[in-house]
């Protein structure tokens, strides 16, 4: 046995791991750093030359990744909120207040068997959930989250939204058609009938807004609503908001129009034969749809990322941490300690039964919360995109809550009531809204050109 072999055999398990991992890390770091130093400028040049493509790829990646936590959050919200409305407690086992339950659901779905029925068309069967999911996700690309935070600023963003969003019907039909199950096929056709019927009032209700705004770019529509909340289009197009919201509910297959997969009546409709992650994609698409519909409602009618009131006093943050010099380092080291003690002291003084270390823990948590609050406040004031995302997500989740709330309250309509409502009420109402808006614009222009 060689000397190396002998020394190796004398090492304990942690020693063996360290002796292998550390050199590997060193080599990898060296290679990576040298590659960045040598090739970095070239890569950056190439990327800069193809900025639109890079932007597109990055946006698509972010949007795809963003849908996962969004769907998890909305699924959790649905479980918890409906439970609370039913006087139940709801999920409370996994994570704080059960908040990780939807993640566990996701893992469960991933581990399930991915089953394709005999006689099904495997290619169409596999691609149907992808089409549905991507049709939902791709619409996120044009939604402005905050000033400067959007995938693409299309001048036809609204048209793009409805065009791509309408593609989800294709996915539903594909799923129903390829399942080799006549009930799935019926379910798919039923969903298609529903979604296409509601597509018409949905689109028509927005035409009046397009006439008012004079543009289809979502960014411009949001910018036109800046200022006080009275500038939001909801006050100029109240009927359109109502029609849009109802039609969007049907479009996203949510209660009371969730006939496509009416849980309690039919077995998931078009998705009867789906299992595992393929079903999971349909499921995901539904919840992403909820988010998207809420986001579009907010963008079009509720001011998008605009705060409901303009910031009353102008703030210019003139912070230059670099000017502190070495003091900055000392502050970074000391301020958390001081804050912890400052917050711990009153807790400690409340009661003689609270021990010192308990008070310190509470103080530490409070200090962290305080620091986070301060950082968020500074960011809100200093960076307009932080404020934008705050208001945009805040308003969007109000609408998401409304969807969940409706699901907790309203009973499902019948299929004939559904169709009647779309064609006999929503369509005339949206046409009326369009004509009244157009007439009002003509009158306003002739009165005050």
């Amino acid at each position: 046995m060689t000397v190396v072999g002998k020394s190796w055999s004398r090492l304990t398990l942690p020693g063996k791991i360290i002796f292998t991992v550390v050199p590997l890390l060193l080599v990898t770091t060296f290679v990576a750093v040298s590659a960045i130093v040598l090739l970095g400028p070239t890569i950056i040049d190439i990327l800069a030359a193809n900025l639109p493509i890079v932007r597109f790829v990055v946006a698509v990646t972010i949007v795809l990744l963003m849908t996962i936590p969004t769907a998890f959050l909305i699924i959790y919200m649905e479980m918890k909120v409906i439970a609370l409305m039913n006087l139940r407690i709801g999920p409370d086992r996994v994570g704080p207040f059960g908040s990780l339950l939807s993640v566990v659901h996701g893992l469960k779905v991933l581990m399930k068997e991915d089953f394709t029925p005999t006689g099904a068309d495997p290619i169409v069967f596999t691609w149907a959930p992808v089409v549905t999911y991507l049709a939902s996700v791709m619409t996120l690309l044009v939604i402005p989250f905050a000033p400067g935070i959007f995938g693409q600023d299309l001048n036809l963003a609204l048209l793009y939204f409805f065009a791509i969003g309408g593609l989800s019907v294709v996915g539903l039909l594909m799923a129903g058609w390829s399942s080799y199950n006549k009930y799935s096929l019926l379910g798919g056709l039923r969903s298609a009938a529903q979604v296409i019927s509601y597509e018409i009032p949905l689109t028509l209700s927005v035409v009046g807004l397009i006439l008012l705004a004079g543009t289809m770019s979502l960014n411009k529509i949001v910018e036109q609503q800046s200022g006080w909340f009275t500038d939001w289009y909801v006050f100029q197009q109240p009927l359109a908001v109502l029609i849009f919201f109802i039609a969007a509910t049907a479009e996203a297959n949510r209660t009371p129009f969730d006939l496509t997969e009416a849980d309690s009546e039919i077995v998931a409709g078009f998705a009867t034969e789906y299992s595992g992650m393929r079903f999971g994609f349909f499921f995901f698409a539904e919840y992403v749809n909820v988010f998207i519909i809420s986001a579009l409602t907010v963008t079009l009618f509720f001011g998008g990322w605009n705060a409901p009131f303009p910031w009353p006093w102008p703030v210019t943050l003139d912070l230059d941490p670099g000017s502190l010099g070495i003091l900055l380092l000392i502050l970074v080291a000391i301020v958390p300690l001081i804050l912890t003690i400052v917050f711990a002291a009153p807790v400690w003084m409340i009661s003689a039964r609270i021990k010192g270390w308990q008070a310190l823990i509470v103080g530490f948590i409070l200090a962290n919360l305080f620091i986070v609050a301060v950082i968020f406040g500074l960011a809100y004031v200093g960076l307009d995109w932080v404020a934008g995302i705050f208001w945009f997500l805040g308003k969007t989740y109000v609408f998401v809550f409304t969807f969940v709330w409706m699901r907790g309250t309203l009973p499902r309509v019948r299929i004939d009531q559904l169709m009647d409502f779309a064609w006999k009420w929503l369509l005339p109402a949206s046409l009326l809204n369009l004509f009244v808006t157009a007439a009002a614009i003509v009158v306003a222009r002739s009165v005050r050109p």
């Binding site: 909120v81 609370l84 409305m85 039913n86 006087l87 139940r88 709330w405 907790g408 309250t409």
Partner: protein, 225 residues
């Protein structure tokens, strides 16, 4: 039906929103357990369906499962033919149908059954007094009882169970465990033993079978003797 369209929807939405903030009724079962009385088995009550008839199908499962036999019940069987009962037969004047009894899971009375001869239990009181009514001295009590009656009458065992508080099943188990304790008079036991003694041994049947069948009976295995 209200005149304002959508008022019902608004009312429903308001209701659920109010419920959202109300205190919850869930009992976190494995952690929190409601304080129920010992031996609580839920409420004994006959329920009526929407037509006002009893939901009870007279299946006797409740009476059969009742651990302290406090349920006795009667009714008509599922086809409405027989009055069926569970419980002490003295309670009911009607004739008990054999099929109904059989369906109810009760032992069907045997017409050839002769009840036990009446046993005078007066001797028991002295024995139990001597052992202080203590179930720990069960073997001694049983031996004394057998000495007094010549055997262990069932009525005496029940009386012992009643007075000492020991379960009848345990007393019965004790009595069957010891071979010198018997449940019949000595002459009856001797008769049974004589019948058993005169039974031919097991090997004799096999030998007769072998003789009758030749060697064709299961040649693979050696014949047991």
């Amino acid at each position: 039906m209200s005149l304002v369209p959508g008022l019902g929807l608004a009312k429903g939405m308001a209701l659920t929103l109010r419920r959202f903030f109300e205190p919850k009724v869930t009992v976190m079962y494995p952690e929190d357990r409601r304080d129920v009385p010992h031996k609580f088995r839920g409420r004994l009550q006959l329920l009526y369906d929407e037509w006002g008839t009893l939901k009870c199908e007279t299946c006797f499962q409740c009476a059969q499962a009742c651990p302290i036999e406090c349920i006795d019940m009667g009714g008509i069987d599922t086809r409405g033919r027989y009055h069926v009962h569970w419980g002490a037969p003295e309670t009911y004047g009607e004739r008990r149908e054999e099929s109904a009894l059989r369906r109810s899971g009760r032992p069907v009375p045997d017409p050839a059954y002769r009840p036990f001869a009446a046993v005078d239990l007066g001797a028991l009181d002295g024995i139990l007094d001597e052992y202080d009514h203590d179930p720990a001295h069960m073997l001694a009590i049983l031996e004394a009882t057998q000495a007094a009656y010549g055997y262990l009458p069932v009525a005496a065992l029940k009386r012992i169970s009643q007075l000492t508080g020991a379960w009848y099943a345990m007393i019965y188990g004790t009595a069957t465990y010891y071979s010198h304790l018997r449940f019949e008079p000595a002459e009856a036991s001797a008769q049974a033993a004589a019948v058993a003694a005169h039974r031919p041994p097991e090997g004799a049947y096999l030998a007769a079978l072998d003789a009758a069948l030749g060697k064709r009976r299961n040649p693979g295995k050696p014949a047991r003797a």
